[in-house]
Protein backbone atom coordinates (compact mmCIF):
# COMPACT_ATOMS: atom_id res chain seq x y z
CA UNK A 1 0.00 0.00 0.00
CA UNK A 2 2.70 2.40 1.08
CA UNK A 3 4.79 1.40 -1.90
CA UNK A 4 1.99 2.05 -4.38
CA UNK A 5 1.37 5.41 -2.75
CA UNK A 6 5.02 6.28 -3.19
CA UNK A 7 5.02 5.24 -6.84
CA UNK A 8 1.80 7.20 -7.45
CA UNK A 9 3.49 10.24 -6.00
CA UNK A 10 6.57 9.57 -8.12
CA UNK A 11 4.36 9.41 -11.21
CA UNK A 12 2.51 12.58 -10.25
CA UNK A 13 5.75 14.42 -9.70
CA UNK A 14 7.03 13.16 -13.04
CA UNK A 15 3.97 14.72 -14.66
CA UNK A 16 4.53 17.90 -12.69
CA UNK A 17 8.15 18.07 -13.81
CA UNK A 18 7.26 17.50 -17.44
CA UNK A 19 5.41 20.82 -17.35
CA UNK A 20 8.56 22.59 -16.25
CA UNK A 21 9.65 25.70 -18.14
CA UNK A 22 12.37 25.31 -20.77
CA UNK A 23 14.89 27.53 -19.01
CA UNK A 24 16.40 26.85 -15.64
CA UNK A 25 15.31 28.57 -12.47
CA UNK A 26 16.24 32.26 -12.55
CA UNK A 27 17.09 34.53 -9.68
CA UNK A 28 14.38 37.14 -9.17
CA UNK A 29 11.67 34.88 -10.56
CA UNK A 30 9.37 32.50 -8.76
CA UNK A 31 11.25 29.34 -7.79
CA UNK A 32 9.75 26.37 -9.64
CA UNK A 33 7.56 24.35 -7.30
CA UNK A 34 8.35 20.67 -6.92
CA UNK A 35 7.38 17.56 -5.07
CA UNK A 36 10.12 15.14 -4.06
CA UNK A 37 10.63 12.25 -1.67
CA UNK A 38 13.32 12.26 1.00
CA UNK A 39 15.50 9.46 2.37
CA UNK A 40 12.86 8.68 5.01
CA UNK A 41 10.06 8.34 2.46
CA UNK A 42 8.58 11.70 3.38
CA UNK A 43 7.24 13.85 0.57
CA UNK A 44 8.28 17.51 0.40
CA UNK A 45 6.58 20.17 -1.66
CA UNK A 46 8.39 23.49 -2.00
CA UNK A 47 5.17 25.51 -1.68
CA UNK A 48 4.53 23.89 1.72
CA UNK A 49 7.48 25.92 2.98
CA UNK A 50 5.97 29.29 2.04
CA UNK A 51 6.94 31.80 4.72
CA UNK A 52 10.32 30.18 5.30
CA UNK A 53 13.72 30.49 3.69
CA UNK A 54 14.66 27.31 1.83
CA UNK A 55 18.17 26.22 0.84
CA UNK A 56 18.66 23.59 -1.87
CA UNK A 57 22.08 21.93 -1.81
CA UNK A 58 23.00 19.72 -4.78
CA UNK A 59 25.00 16.83 -3.44
CA UNK A 60 27.24 13.92 -4.50
CA UNK A 61 29.07 12.26 -1.63
CA UNK A 62 31.93 11.03 -3.86
CA UNK A 63 32.66 14.35 -5.53
CA UNK A 64 35.94 15.91 -4.31
CA UNK A 65 34.29 19.35 -4.10
CA UNK A 66 31.40 18.03 -2.00
CA UNK A 67 33.87 16.12 0.15
CA UNK A 68 35.85 19.32 0.68
CA UNK A 69 32.85 20.86 2.41
CA UNK A 70 31.71 17.73 4.27
CA UNK A 71 34.98 16.24 5.46
CA UNK A 72 36.03 19.64 6.78
CA UNK A 73 32.69 19.91 8.61
CA UNK A 74 31.87 23.16 6.78
CA UNK A 75 28.59 22.04 5.24
CA UNK A 76 27.38 20.36 8.42
CA UNK A 77 28.16 23.54 10.37
CA UNK A 78 26.15 25.63 7.91
CA UNK A 79 23.25 23.16 8.07
CA UNK A 80 23.30 23.25 11.88
CA UNK A 81 23.54 27.03 12.13
CA UNK A 82 20.86 27.83 9.58
CA UNK A 83 18.30 25.15 10.45
CA UNK A 84 18.56 26.35 14.07
CA UNK A 85 17.66 29.79 12.77
CA UNK A 86 14.54 28.45 11.08
CA UNK A 87 15.84 27.82 7.57
CA UNK A 88 14.67 24.72 5.68
CA UNK A 89 17.79 23.01 4.27
CA UNK A 90 17.19 20.40 1.58
CA UNK A 91 19.99 18.26 0.17
CA UNK A 92 19.19 17.13 -3.37
CA UNK A 93 20.86 14.05 -4.86
CA UNK A 94 20.44 13.91 -8.64
CA UNK A 95 23.02 11.18 -9.37
CA UNK A 96 21.41 8.48 -11.48
CA UNK A 97 21.66 4.79 -10.52
CA UNK A 98 25.11 3.38 -11.22
CA UNK A 99 26.76 6.80 -11.19
CA UNK A 100 28.88 8.45 -8.55
CA UNK A 101 26.86 9.80 -5.65
CA UNK A 102 23.80 7.66 -6.28
CA UNK A 103 22.52 6.36 -2.96
CA UNK A 104 19.59 4.38 -1.69
CA UNK A 105 17.54 5.93 1.10
CA UNK A 106 19.31 3.70 3.66
CA UNK A 107 22.75 4.61 2.36
CA UNK A 108 21.93 8.30 2.54
CA UNK A 109 20.66 8.03 6.11
CA UNK A 110 23.81 6.16 7.06
CA UNK A 111 25.92 8.87 5.40
CA UNK A 112 24.08 11.68 7.19
CA UNK A 113 24.60 9.89 10.53
CA UNK A 114 28.26 9.27 9.83
CA UNK A 115 28.91 12.86 8.77
CA UNK A 116 26.80 14.28 11.59
CA UNK A 117 24.97 16.22 8.88
CA UNK A 118 21.73 17.91 9.87
CA UNK A 119 19.78 19.03 6.79
CA UNK A 120 16.02 19.29 7.14
CA UNK A 121 15.87 16.43 4.63
CA UNK A 122 17.79 14.74 1.80
CA UNK A 123 15.71 14.56 -1.38
CA UNK A 124 16.35 11.63 -3.71
CA UNK A 125 16.18 12.63 -7.37
CA UNK A 126 17.67 9.66 -9.26
CA UNK A 127 15.89 10.57 -12.50
CA UNK A 128 17.41 14.07 -12.33
CA UNK A 129 14.04 15.81 -12.71
CA UNK A 130 14.51 18.25 -9.85
CA UNK A 131 18.08 18.87 -11.03
CA UNK A 132 16.96 19.73 -14.54
CA UNK A 133 14.06 21.82 -13.25
CA UNK A 134 16.53 24.04 -11.43
CA UNK A 135 19.30 23.72 -14.00
CA UNK A 136 21.73 22.34 -11.42
CA UNK A 137 25.10 21.75 -13.06
CA UNK A 138 27.55 21.07 -10.30
CA UNK A 139 27.94 19.56 -6.87
CA UNK A 140 27.84 21.44 -4.72
CA UNK A 141 25.46 24.02 -6.20
CA UNK A 142 23.31 26.13 -3.93
CA UNK A 143 19.90 27.74 -4.40
CA UNK A 144 17.97 29.87 -1.92
CA UNK A 145 14.22 30.50 -2.05
CA UNK A 146 12.86 33.37 0.02
CA UNK A 147 9.73 33.49 2.16
CA UNK A 148 7.57 34.57 -0.76
CA UNK A 149 8.78 31.72 -2.99
CA UNK A 150 11.16 33.82 -5.09
CA UNK A 151 14.55 32.43 -6.03
CA UNK A 152 17.07 34.78 -4.42
CA UNK A 153 20.33 32.88 -4.89
CA UNK A 154 21.79 30.49 -7.45
CA UNK A 155 25.44 29.58 -7.49
CA UNK A 156 28.50 28.44 -5.62
CA UNK A 157 28.79 27.83 -1.93
CA UNK A 158 31.75 30.23 -1.75
CA UNK A 159 34.27 32.13 -3.83
CA UNK A 160 37.10 29.54 -3.76
CA UNK A 161 36.51 27.15 -6.67
CA UNK A 162 38.86 24.41 -5.52
CA UNK A 163 38.59 21.00 -3.88
CA UNK A 164 41.08 21.96 -1.17
CA UNK A 165 39.65 22.27 2.35
CA UNK A 166 42.48 24.68 3.22
CA UNK A 167 40.65 27.27 1.11
CA UNK A 168 37.54 27.28 3.32
CA UNK A 169 38.70 29.55 6.19
CA UNK A 170 39.37 32.63 4.03
CA UNK A 171 36.48 32.08 1.64
CA UNK A 172 33.50 34.38 1.19
CA UNK A 173 30.53 32.10 1.88
CA UNK A 174 27.83 33.30 -0.50
CA UNK A 175 25.12 31.17 1.13
CA UNK A 176 25.61 32.56 4.63
CA UNK A 177 25.86 36.10 3.29
CA UNK A 178 22.66 35.70 1.27
CA UNK A 179 20.79 34.15 4.19
CA UNK A 180 21.94 36.93 6.56
CA UNK A 181 20.77 39.55 4.09
CA UNK A 182 17.44 37.81 3.47
CA UNK A 183 16.82 37.52 7.21
CA UNK A 184 17.53 41.22 7.61
CA UNK A 185 15.05 41.97 4.81
CA UNK A 186 17.82 43.21 2.51
CA UNK A 187 18.36 42.33 -1.12
CA UNK A 188 21.06 39.72 -1.71
CA UNK A 189 24.30 41.38 -2.89
CA UNK A 190 25.75 38.36 -4.70
CA UNK A 191 22.57 36.72 -5.99
CA UNK A 192 24.05 34.82 -8.92
CA UNK A 193 27.52 33.35 -8.87
CA UNK A 194 29.27 30.71 -10.87
CA UNK A 195 28.82 27.29 -9.27
CA UNK A 196 31.90 25.10 -9.11
CA UNK A 197 32.54 21.41 -8.62
CA UNK A 198 31.77 18.10 -10.31
CA UNK A 199 29.14 17.78 -12.99
CA UNK A 200 25.78 16.54 -11.74
CA UNK A 201 25.66 12.86 -12.71
CA UNK A 202 22.43 12.90 -14.70
CA UNK A 203 21.29 9.81 -16.60
CA UNK A 204 23.49 9.57 -19.71
CA UNK A 205 25.81 12.28 -18.43
CA UNK A 206 29.58 12.15 -18.56
Amino acid sequence: MRKSLVSTIALLSAILFSLAPAHAARVGEKAPDFTATDSNGKVHKLSDYAGKLVVLEWHNNGCPYTRKHYESGNMEKLQREWTQRGVIWLIVISSSPGKQGYVTAEQENEYLRKMNAVPTAALLDPAGQLGRLYGAKTTPQMFIVDRSGTLIYNGAIDDRPTNDAADIPGARNYVSLALEEAMAGKPVSDATTRPYGCSVKYPGSY
Binding site: A24, K137, N154, G204
Partner: protein, 271 residues
Protein backbone atom coordinates in the same frame (compact mmCIF):
# COMPACT_ATOMS: atom_id res chain seq x y z
CA UNK B 1 49.09 -4.72 -26.41
CA UNK B 2 48.32 -2.04 -23.86
CA UNK B 3 51.57 -2.77 -22.06
CA UNK B 4 53.40 -2.38 -25.34
CA UNK B 5 51.76 1.01 -25.91
CA UNK B 6 52.80 2.12 -22.44
CA UNK B 7 56.35 1.01 -23.15
CA UNK B 8 56.26 2.87 -26.44
CA UNK B 9 55.01 5.99 -24.65
CA UNK B 10 57.84 5.76 -22.14
CA UNK B 11 60.38 5.37 -24.92
CA UNK B 12 58.90 8.40 -26.67
CA UNK B 13 59.08 10.43 -23.48
CA UNK B 14 62.65 9.45 -22.85
CA UNK B 15 63.66 11.27 -26.01
CA UNK B 16 62.43 14.65 -24.75
CA UNK B 17 64.55 16.79 -22.52
CA UNK B 18 63.47 16.19 -18.96
CA UNK B 19 61.71 12.91 -19.46
CA UNK B 20 60.93 11.49 -16.08
CA UNK B 21 57.16 11.09 -16.14
CA UNK B 22 55.41 10.83 -12.81
CA UNK B 23 52.62 8.27 -12.69
CA UNK B 24 49.32 9.47 -11.32
CA UNK B 25 45.81 8.07 -11.38
CA UNK B 26 44.63 7.58 -14.98
CA UNK B 27 47.55 9.40 -16.50
CA UNK B 28 51.12 10.57 -16.31
CA UNK B 29 52.65 14.00 -16.03
CA UNK B 30 56.10 15.24 -16.91
CA UNK B 31 58.03 18.48 -17.06
CA UNK B 32 59.92 18.78 -20.33
CA UNK B 33 62.00 21.50 -21.99
CA UNK B 34 62.22 22.51 -25.62
CA UNK B 35 65.85 23.55 -25.21
CA UNK B 36 68.65 21.46 -23.84
CA UNK B 37 70.22 24.15 -21.69
CA UNK B 38 69.67 27.39 -19.85
CA UNK B 39 71.56 30.63 -20.44
CA UNK B 40 71.91 33.83 -18.39
CA UNK B 41 69.19 36.34 -19.37
CA UNK B 42 67.54 33.98 -21.86
CA UNK B 43 64.20 32.27 -21.72
CA UNK B 44 63.37 28.71 -22.70
CA UNK B 45 60.07 26.95 -23.25
CA UNK B 46 58.94 24.38 -20.75
CA UNK B 47 55.97 22.09 -21.10
CA UNK B 48 53.79 20.25 -18.64
CA UNK B 49 53.08 17.07 -20.53
CA UNK B 50 49.91 15.24 -19.58
CA UNK B 51 49.40 11.77 -21.00
CA UNK B 52 45.89 10.65 -20.07
CA UNK B 53 44.25 7.27 -20.23
CA UNK B 54 41.50 6.97 -22.87
CA UNK B 55 38.25 8.57 -21.76
CA UNK B 56 39.83 10.78 -19.10
CA UNK B 57 40.19 14.53 -19.44
CA UNK B 58 41.66 17.60 -17.79
CA UNK B 59 40.43 21.18 -18.17
CA UNK B 60 41.16 24.33 -20.12
CA UNK B 61 41.68 27.67 -18.36
CA UNK B 62 37.91 28.16 -18.53
CA UNK B 63 36.73 24.67 -17.61
CA UNK B 64 33.11 25.34 -18.58
CA UNK B 65 30.24 24.16 -16.40
CA UNK B 66 32.28 22.13 -13.91
CA UNK B 67 35.85 21.12 -13.24
CA UNK B 68 38.99 23.15 -12.66
CA UNK B 69 42.13 23.91 -14.70
CA UNK B 70 45.52 22.55 -13.63
CA UNK B 71 47.38 24.84 -11.24
CA UNK B 72 51.13 25.16 -10.98
CA UNK B 73 53.21 26.31 -8.07
CA UNK B 74 56.75 26.89 -9.31
CA UNK B 75 59.84 26.14 -7.29
CA UNK B 76 62.54 27.92 -9.19
CA UNK B 77 66.06 29.02 -8.25
CA UNK B 78 66.48 32.67 -7.25
CA UNK B 79 65.90 35.15 -10.06
CA UNK B 80 64.06 32.75 -12.40
CA UNK B 81 60.66 33.89 -13.71
CA UNK B 82 57.91 31.63 -15.00
CA UNK B 83 55.36 33.19 -17.34
CA UNK B 84 51.72 32.17 -17.66
CA UNK B 85 50.73 28.96 -19.42
CA UNK B 86 49.88 29.35 -23.12
CA UNK B 87 46.79 27.18 -23.24
CA UNK B 88 46.34 25.07 -26.38
CA UNK B 89 42.89 25.28 -27.92
CA UNK B 90 40.57 22.91 -26.09
CA UNK B 91 37.79 20.56 -27.19
CA UNK B 92 34.18 20.45 -26.07
CA UNK B 93 33.49 17.66 -23.59
CA UNK B 94 30.41 16.30 -21.88
CA UNK B 95 26.84 16.83 -22.93
CA UNK B 96 24.02 19.16 -21.95
CA UNK B 97 23.20 20.34 -19.39
CA UNK B 98 26.88 20.16 -18.40
CA UNK B 99 29.44 21.02 -21.07
CA UNK B 100 33.14 21.45 -20.41
CA UNK B 101 36.28 22.61 -22.20
CA UNK B 102 39.44 20.58 -21.86
CA UNK B 103 41.86 18.04 -23.20
CA UNK B 104 41.90 14.31 -23.76
CA UNK B 105 44.79 12.05 -24.65
CA UNK B 106 48.00 14.02 -24.70
CA UNK B 107 48.26 17.69 -23.82
CA UNK B 108 51.33 19.88 -23.57
CA UNK B 109 50.86 23.08 -21.57
CA UNK B 110 53.67 25.35 -22.69
CA UNK B 111 55.13 28.33 -20.88
CA UNK B 112 58.32 30.36 -20.86
CA UNK B 113 60.83 30.47 -18.05
CA UNK B 114 63.49 33.16 -18.01
CA UNK B 115 66.85 32.73 -16.33
CA UNK B 116 68.33 35.72 -14.48
CA UNK B 117 71.07 37.70 -16.22
CA UNK B 118 73.49 37.03 -13.37
CA UNK B 119 73.19 33.25 -13.62
CA UNK B 120 76.64 31.70 -13.71
CA UNK B 121 77.40 29.52 -16.71
CA UNK B 122 79.04 26.17 -16.16
CA UNK B 123 76.75 24.77 -13.50
CA UNK B 124 73.23 23.46 -13.67
CA UNK B 125 69.83 24.53 -12.39
CA UNK B 126 66.82 22.55 -11.27
CA UNK B 127 63.37 23.81 -12.21
CA UNK B 128 60.57 22.20 -10.23
CA UNK B 129 56.85 22.57 -9.90
CA UNK B 130 54.08 21.30 -7.71
CA UNK B 131 51.16 20.67 -10.05
CA UNK B 132 47.58 20.13 -8.96
CA UNK B 133 44.98 19.05 -11.44
CA UNK B 134 41.56 17.52 -11.66
CA UNK B 135 41.20 14.50 -13.90
CA UNK B 136 37.70 13.35 -14.80
CA UNK B 137 35.86 10.75 -16.78
CA UNK B 138 32.52 10.02 -15.22
CA UNK B 139 34.01 10.87 -11.86
CA UNK B 140 36.64 13.42 -10.94
CA UNK B 141 39.85 12.79 -9.06
CA UNK B 142 42.05 15.56 -7.66
CA UNK B 143 45.66 14.75 -8.41
CA UNK B 144 48.97 16.35 -7.62
CA UNK B 145 52.60 15.69 -8.38
CA UNK B 146 56.07 17.14 -8.04
CA UNK B 147 57.85 17.37 -11.35
CA UNK B 148 61.35 18.64 -11.94
CA UNK B 149 63.98 19.10 -14.56
CA UNK B 150 67.70 19.78 -14.27
CA UNK B 151 69.44 21.58 -17.11
CA UNK B 152 73.03 22.69 -17.66
CA UNK B 153 73.71 26.43 -17.75
CA UNK B 154 75.71 27.54 -20.79
CA UNK B 155 76.55 30.80 -22.50
CA UNK B 156 74.69 31.83 -25.64
CA UNK B 157 71.10 31.42 -26.69
CA UNK B 158 69.78 27.96 -25.78
CA UNK B 159 69.15 25.69 -28.75
CA UNK B 160 66.19 23.42 -29.27
CA UNK B 161 67.04 19.87 -28.30
CA UNK B 162 66.51 17.28 -31.01
CA UNK B 163 64.35 15.03 -28.84
CA UNK B 164 61.95 17.80 -27.85
CA UNK B 165 61.59 19.55 -31.19
CA UNK B 166 58.77 17.44 -32.60
CA UNK B 167 56.82 17.45 -29.35
CA UNK B 168 56.93 21.24 -29.04
CA UNK B 169 56.38 21.83 -32.76
CA UNK B 170 53.25 19.65 -32.76
CA UNK B 171 51.94 21.25 -29.57
CA UNK B 172 52.62 24.75 -30.91
CA UNK B 173 50.21 24.09 -33.76
CA UNK B 174 47.44 23.88 -31.18
CA UNK B 175 48.24 27.29 -29.68
CA UNK B 176 45.70 29.92 -30.68
CA UNK B 177 47.22 32.62 -32.88
CA UNK B 178 46.37 36.30 -33.11
CA UNK B 179 43.85 37.13 -35.85
CA UNK B 180 45.59 37.56 -39.22
CA UNK B 181 45.72 41.15 -40.57
CA UNK B 182 42.45 42.13 -42.21
CA UNK B 183 40.34 39.68 -40.20
CA UNK B 184 37.80 41.15 -37.85
CA UNK B 185 35.69 39.80 -35.00
CA UNK B 186 32.70 41.67 -33.65
CA UNK B 187 29.54 40.83 -31.79
CA UNK B 188 26.15 42.24 -31.10
CA UNK B 189 23.98 41.65 -28.11
CA UNK B 190 20.33 40.65 -28.42
CA UNK B 191 17.96 39.80 -25.59
CA UNK B 192 18.87 36.12 -25.44
CA UNK B 193 22.08 35.82 -27.46
CA UNK B 194 25.36 37.17 -28.66
CA UNK B 195 25.76 37.12 -32.41
CA UNK B 196 29.47 36.81 -33.14
CA UNK B 197 30.73 37.56 -36.64
CA UNK B 198 34.20 36.73 -37.86
CA UNK B 199 35.25 38.26 -41.17
CA UNK B 200 38.11 36.43 -42.85
CA UNK B 201 37.58 37.35 -46.50
CA UNK B 202 36.49 33.82 -47.39
CA UNK B 203 33.58 31.51 -46.66
CA UNK B 204 33.94 29.63 -43.37
CA UNK B 205 31.68 26.61 -42.84
CA UNK B 206 32.75 25.43 -39.41
CA UNK B 207 33.61 27.41 -36.31
CA UNK B 208 33.65 26.71 -32.61
CA UNK B 209 33.95 29.47 -30.02
CA UNK B 210 35.49 28.82 -26.63
CA UNK B 211 34.77 31.67 -24.20
CA UNK B 212 37.52 32.78 -21.82
CA UNK B 213 35.05 34.38 -19.43
CA UNK B 214 33.03 31.88 -17.48
CA UNK B 215 29.75 33.74 -17.19
CA UNK B 216 29.07 35.11 -20.67
CA UNK B 217 27.59 32.34 -22.78
CA UNK B 218 25.61 29.22 -21.95
CA UNK B 219 28.11 26.44 -22.63
CA UNK B 220 25.53 23.71 -23.09
CA UNK B 221 23.15 25.56 -25.42
CA UNK B 222 23.10 24.61 -29.10
CA UNK B 223 25.08 27.08 -31.21
CA UNK B 224 23.93 28.25 -34.58
CA UNK B 225 26.71 28.49 -37.18
CA UNK B 226 26.07 30.31 -40.46
CA UNK B 227 28.62 30.38 -43.24
CA UNK B 228 28.97 33.87 -44.74
CA UNK B 229 30.52 34.85 -48.04
CA UNK B 230 33.34 36.56 -46.14
CA UNK B 231 33.43 34.64 -42.89
CA UNK B 232 31.15 33.03 -40.37
CA UNK B 233 28.45 34.02 -37.90
CA UNK B 234 27.76 32.26 -34.60
CA UNK B 235 24.71 32.70 -32.41
CA UNK B 236 25.59 31.98 -28.79
CA UNK B 237 22.97 31.86 -26.04
CA UNK B 238 23.65 34.22 -23.13
CA UNK B 239 24.58 32.67 -19.82
CA UNK B 240 22.02 32.51 -17.03
CA UNK B 241 24.81 33.92 -14.89
CA UNK B 242 25.35 36.96 -17.08
CA UNK B 243 24.56 39.93 -14.88
CA UNK B 244 26.22 42.94 -16.45
CA UNK B 245 26.46 44.20 -20.01
CA UNK B 246 29.47 42.71 -21.75
CA UNK B 247 31.99 45.01 -23.43
CA UNK B 248 33.64 42.26 -25.43
CA UNK B 249 33.61 38.53 -26.00
CA UNK B 250 37.07 37.14 -25.35
CA UNK B 251 38.00 33.66 -26.33
CA UNK B 252 39.35 31.29 -28.91
CA UNK B 253 37.68 30.55 -32.21
CA UNK B 254 38.61 27.33 -33.97
CA UNK B 255 37.99 27.01 -37.71
CA UNK B 256 39.64 23.62 -38.16
CA UNK B 257 42.84 21.74 -37.33
CA UNK B 258 45.70 24.18 -36.74
CA UNK B 259 43.34 27.13 -37.23
CA UNK B 260 42.69 28.45 -33.74
CA UNK B 261 42.65 32.21 -33.16
CA UNK B 262 42.42 34.43 -30.12
CA UNK B 263 39.66 36.98 -30.45
CA UNK B 264 38.40 39.98 -28.55
CA UNK B 265 35.12 40.87 -30.22
CA UNK B 266 33.65 44.21 -29.15
CA UNK B 267 29.95 43.87 -28.34
CA UNK B 268 27.40 46.35 -29.67
CA UNK B 269 23.88 46.44 -28.28
CA UNK B 270 21.12 46.40 -30.82
CA UNK B 271 17.61 45.08 -30.80
Amino acid sequence: MFRYLVLLAILTFSQSVGASPVAAQHGKIDLVAEQGSLAPGHSIRLGLLFDLEPGWHIYWENPGDSGEPPRVEWKLPAGFRAEEIEWPSPVRLGKPPVVNYGYEGRALLILRVRAPANLRAGGEATLAAHVKWLICREICIPEQAEVSLTLPVRRGAPKAAAGSQTLFAEASKLLPKPLPPGWKAEARSTKESFVLTLRTGARVAEATFFPLEADQIENASPRKTEALAHGVRLTLAKSEQLLKPVASLRGVIVLGPGRAYRIVAPVRSRK
